[in-house]
């Protein structure tokens, strides 16, 4: 379980808190999605989890342990993160890249143990990248690269899996595959924390939705609690209707053009 407890973060030389007392729990076995407009504090949440920013108040706990009490490798052994953007500056094989997930588990001179190799094999199989093992990471398509990044994070192990905007550059099929993989990771008992702009997709895959706005939690709960037109309109400051997806029945957000309300408003 990942817990943010009344977390406050303010960046240097800023007059406003990036996070102004945020409490979120992401239990094991579920997908918890954090959504919200640009600048609402989503990325700061991830940075606080990694110990990259120092909270002015509150705490981040992983399985009950405050991350400020842990050194960086210890955090990395508990939480695996797929960051928003990543590009290898130099060629490296997919297998070597995935093996980097084992970095926090060994010392500088440490060689791969059988356990490390097994973890990498299992992770690559789960993300369906085994057949790419010998390819260079610079010779992958966008979808392949994203699966390989998931495999690296899976190889890292730990209790929690964080994905920050994991589908930004993916087409529809790869996007769906990525979300399904996140669902499988959760069902194997990890706490999955997903940060995303894709409200409609998130609404179909997340067990819990947390809507951030200006560093505060504007709404949290099930998809039906959060995906409400009046809440979303206030947070995004944009005319929005929430309909039900005709094919799968999940709540679905439709942003309107300003000043063009539909004649019959559909709302849940």
């Amino acid at each position: 379980m990942i817990q943010f407890r009344d977390l406050r973060v303010r960046y240097p030389r800023q007059t406003r808190d990036a996070l102004a007392g945020v409490s979120i729990s992401a239990p094991r076995g579920t997908v918890t999605a954090v959504v919200g407009p640009n600048g609402s504090g989503k990325s700061t949440l991830v940075r606080a989890l990694l110990g990259r920013v120092t909270p002015s108040a509150g705490a981040v706990l992983i399985e009950g342990t405050d991350v400020s009490q842990l050194d960086r490798p210890a955090i990395a052994r508990r939480v695996a993160v797929v960051t928003q953007r990543e590009e290898s500056a130099f060629p490296i094989s997919v297998r070597e890249y995935c093996a980097l997930g084992r970095l926090p588990h060994r010392g500088a001179w440490g060689r791969d143990t059988a356990a490390d190799r097994d973890a990498v094999d299992a992770a690559m199989a789960m993300a369906e990248v085994t057949e790419l093992a010998e390819r260079s990471v610079q010779a992958l398509s966008g979808g392949e690269w994203q699966r390989v990044r998931f495999a690296r994070a899976l190889a890292q192990g730990g209790d929690a899996f964080v994905a920050d905007e994991p589908t930004t550059f993916l087409d529809v099929a790869h996007e769906m595959a990525a979300f399904e993989l996140l669902g499988r990771i959760a069902s194997e008992g990890r706490a999955v924390l997903l940060v995303s702009h894709h409200l409609n997709l998130v609404a179909r895959f997340a067990d819990t939705l947390v809507l951030l706005h200006d560093g505060h939690v504007a709404a949290a709960g099930t998809v039906h609690d959060v995906m409400r037109a009046e809440i979303l309109e206030r947070v995004y400051a944009w005319p929005i209707v929430v309909t039900r997806d005709p094919a799968v029945g999940a709540p679905s957000l439709v942003p309107l053009r300003r000043g063009s309300r539909p004649s019959t408003e559909q709302s849940i």
Partner: protein, 323 residues
């Protein structure tokens, strides 16, 4: 990298080193090299091989290895394929130190120490400037700091040179063009200490370099203390570079291009890359020195110019064949 390619690389270094011992104004047949190294046979041959060529070949080997690992490490940590060992002001600082020493007429033996001191001062200044501007881990800020410190050093050199006499200018210029001609065993001992210890430290940080090459956020996610690790790598790589400059002056191009040749040769991941860059660097510098002293006898070409002349076609061939 496959075993075959490693074997090829090591054999190539050995072969070029052997050629370095054989060729010159007095050619020594390969059969006589071993006995000359042991001190047997014609005394002139023994002197030429043991006292003139062996130190030179060894110094060139160490110089190339040092520049190779330093360049590979800096390219990785700065995520920049154009990074090279002199980037953080090493060359400028060393040149200021050396020119100051030459122009104040101190003992010639102290010039390397002055160069080393100047290099360390410049790197410290660049790291300090980057730190003071809150850039810390940001490679772009550090590169700019290095460029600024280098430009300042150049200005200082120009001022010093403008008022120096002709012999000082010539001495300083020769030093800046790099040479292993006057290799001494003391230089070899010192340089081997820095190159071996620094190289080992960088190889120990190879996984961290792999992580840093992915970007700061990713490295942090893998448990790397980005600022601290990067600072350590800058320091070690610059120390190795400074020690090469103190031993042999400025030899450009090697640290920039050698890691790329090693990558083209199949070196993936920094552990292999650092070792392959050391071997490739040795190969390039020993070969360049051989050309420098045999191409237009009895004149010697500046080593720094020849490394580029040998390195460019070498680089183009690997680019063609291995892509």
């Amino acid at each position: 990298m496959t075993f075959g390619r490693w074997a090829f690389l090591v054999a190539a270094v050995a072969l070029v080193a052997l050629a370095g011992l054989m060729l010159g104004t007095i050619p020594v047949p390969p059969g006589d090299i071993w006995s000359a190294l042991r001190g047997d046979g014609n005394s002139t041959t023994v002197f030429v091989v043991r006292e003139l060529r062996l130190p030179r070949v060894l110094l060139a080997t160490l110089l190339g290895a040092g520049l190779g690992v330093s360049g590979a490490a800096l390219q990785g940590v700065l995520r920049n394929p154009l990074a090279e060992p002199y980037l953080l002001g090493v060359s400028g600082g060393a040149a200021v130190g050396a020119v100051l020493a030459v122009s104040t007429g101190v003992a010639i033996a102290l010039v390397p120490i002055a160069a080393f001191g100047g290099a360390i001062a410049a790197v410290t200044l660049a790291l300090f400037v980057a730190h003071a501007t809150h850039g810390r881990g940001d490679p772009r800020v550090l590169i700019m700091a290095g460029v600024v410190v280098g430009a300042f050093a150049n200005a200082v050199i120009m001022v010093l040179m403008a008022n120096a006499d002709a012999s000082t200018v010539r001495g300083a210029l020769w030093w800046m063009m790099g040479s292993v001609a006057d290799a001494t065993w003391t230089q070899i001992a010192w340089l081997s200490l820095y190159v071996v210890a620094g190289g080992a430290a960088l190889v120990a940080l190879a996984r961290t370099l792999d992580a840093l090459a992915l970007g700061e956020d990713s490295a942090a996610g893998l448990g790397v203390d980005v600022d601290r690790a990067a600072r350590r790598i800058y320091l070690v790589a610059s120390l190795v570079a400074a020690s090469t400059v103190a031993a042999a002056g400025l030899v450009g191009f090697v640290g920039l291009v050698v890691p790329h040749i090693a990558r083209r040769f199949g070196a993936r991941g920094h552990r292999v890359l650092l070792l392959a860059s050391a071997a490739t660097g040795s190969l390039l510098v020993v070969a360049a020195d051989l050309v420098a002293r045999t191409a237009l006898p009895p004149a010697e070409l500046p080593l720094g110019a020849v490394t580029a002349m040998v390195g460019v076609p070498f680089f183009l061939i690997t680019l063609r064949r291995l892509t």
